[in-house]
């Protein structure tokens, strides 16, 4: 299998879906002539032309809403937010229009839109540019949320998201764009709502999503090598729909769990995961459910400190040791 980057995997997914379905169109700031601020859409405008790949003005509310309106007519717009942080100026269009139009119309209208872009801290761009709104959006019934961690998942999930008939919020990570991984030549789809055991283990479960999965995997190696602890790493991949069975399965297997995410702690995704486990695995747990999130402050600029603000493998190790000793 070829090794390609997360960025390329996303690009291939979009290219394949553009070719496959004439209703797929890519829209966003600098996605066309500039090849994308993070080069995710590089070459697509040249290849597919103005109709299928187009640059928008800096008007997120209008262009996201435009995508929603177009999707109601049957188009499948794939909208790039240069950063998911900029969803703040299109919030109403995302939540009320993409999220609720099917419900408010009693099921008469569909909204097969994908909104994608990076949602992460860790690149020293400050608090205004480092939002991770997966928890906010997964709070909204009607919306789906996906956070792939690897090139393989990125491609398979994005293709599933584009074909999905519901609005899917697809959250990437600028720190992952350059990460490489094996991706098959043949077409494949990864259904939304299926978590992935990224590493098998028996002593403790580490559950994560997005880039925190890589952190968890590094922690699992350290735990094995230095502490002889066998950690299972479960990658949620999709936040809503959620693979609850996979969560319960791993907790029932290891009886100990540490939840890791890069969001701020209060009402983060892992609060929800913790509440599910606390209810459904009450008799399975041998230790309290622990959470590790970003240090609870707006994203700091200072590069050294921002590295410290996000969960590091050693922080995960420490958490695990506190319940595995």
């Amino acid at each position: 299998m070829a090794e390609i980057t997360y960025r390329e995997a996303l690009r291939h997914a979009m290219a394949e879906e553009i070719e496959r379905d004439e209703n797929v169109v890519l829209l966003g700031e600098e996605v066309a002539e500039y090849d994308g601020a993070y080069k995710v859409t590089e070459g697509l405008w040249k290849r597919f032309g103005d109709k299928r790949v187009a640059d928008t003005p800096i008007s997120e509310a209008a262009f996201i809403g435009m995508g929603v309106g177009a999707s109601m007519l049957g188009l499948r717009p794939v909208m790039e937010l240069m950063f998911w942080s900029f969803s703040s100026v299109a919030w109403d269009q995302i939540v009320n229009n993409a999220g609720f139009v099917r419900y408010m119309s009693g099921g008469l209208i569909n909204c097969p839109i994908v909104i994608r872009g990076p949602a992460n801290g860790g690149t020293n761009v400050g608090a205004t540019h480092s939002h991770t709104p997966e928890n906010w959006l997964a709070n909204v019934p009607g919306i789906k949320v996906v956070c792939p961690a690897t090139p393989y998942d990125a491609k398979g999930l994005l293709k599933a998201a584009i074909r999905d008939n519901d609005p899917v919020m697809f959250m990437e990570n600028t720190l992952l764009y350059g990460e490489k991984g094996e991706v098959p030549e043949e077409e494949y789809i990864i259904p939304l709502g299926v978590a992935d055991v990224k590493r098998e283990g028996t002593d403790v479960s580490i559950i994560a999503h997005g880039r925190a999965v890589l952190t968890a995997l590094k922690a699992a190696e350290l735990l094995q090598a230095e502490h002889d602890i066998s950690a299972e790493v479960l990658d949620l991949r999709s936040i809503r729909p959620l693979d609850e069975e996979a969560i319960l399965r791993t907790v029932r297997k290891t009886h100990r769990v540490v939840l890791v995410e890069e969001n701020k702690p209060f009402c983060g995704v892992d609060a929800q995961i913790a509440s599910i486990i606390a209810e459904k695995c009450f008799d399975d747990l041998d230790a309290p459910i622990l959470r590790l999130s970003a240090i609870d402050a707006p994203a700091i600029y200072s590069p050294e400190l921002e590295r410290r603000q996000l969960p590091r493998p050693t922080d995960v190790v420490e958490k695990v040791l506190s319940i595995c000793r």
């Binding site: 209008a62 929603v68 309106g69 109403d92 419900y103 099921g107 008469l108 693979d243």
Partner: protein, 356 residues
Amino acid sequence: METLKTCEFASAPINEALTPADKIRLLKEMLRIRRFEQAALRAYQGGKMGGFLHLYIGQESVAAGACSLMGPNDHVITAYRDHGHALAVGMNMNECMAELFGKATGCSKGKGGSMHFFAPDKNYWGGHGIVGGQTPLGLGLAYGLKYKGLTGSAMCFMGDGAVNQGCFYESMNMASLWNLPVIYIIENNGYSMGTSLARSSVFKSCLAERAEGFGIEWDTLNGEDVYEVRAKIQVAVDRAHQESRPTVLEIATYRYYGHSVADAKHKVYRSEEEIETYKAQHDPINLWKARLLEERVLNEEQYEAIDDAAKKEASDSVIFAEESPIPSVESITEDVYFEVDRQTAAGRTGRHFFND
């Protein structure tokens, strides 16, 4: 800006083309809106529904006139004051009244209520509660039409208060930049809730003139005259069809009732006299009726028959709504996700709902 003189409205080609039956249909549509809403108001006062009820009465000529221009690829979207447009595109009173009653037979199965009527099969895309929030959606309908290579338009209605939501300007810029066939129709009834136009907006000659800064053609019109409404909107429809260019129109109109049924102050922030003057001298139904009488297209007897039919349709719809079933508790979680409703593979994978 292209304009038509008053005397020419009746003789505009689009109006010249009207048969007597067409003209009577316009009257009928306006009466249907009025009688439907009067019945709804009574039912509301009788405790038959919840939430808000924003009446369109007084503005009927706008929706009826505009929607009478719709061809197969002309689409409509509006705000929460949406009953008029819904009926004008051809929705039936039963599904609309049942929606107000929150019944399973409602156009949105009781999920949307007064502010959220929809009929995509009639090119009617709602019914939107967030002020101004529909303006990017209207842009999207126009974009979708153009993308599909269809000759059409998206008429996006909005209030005079809605012009102060920023996404409207973003949408105008994009419509102009991308040559999209959207028609923004500002129904200027002089008030946004209890705030008069003068207390909410600064403008040069009118609100629509703000379009000038975006290189968009605009015009103003008097909404009380169906001929004028049709003639001037047709100019915009033609522009959409022929040039794929947007237009912004501002239509002077008036609402007789309060902002919503709950608006107890609507005779405080505006005078009784103002309301009565409008009703007496500018009522669009009376004016149209007078026209048709004058044109001898209509006589009093026919008028009564049409009105009676509208009243009957309205009262029948109340009975229909009353007798319709309340949606089941299970239906609360239906129509949330397409994939779950259809029980596709995607809908059967993973957990979508999180109670218990």
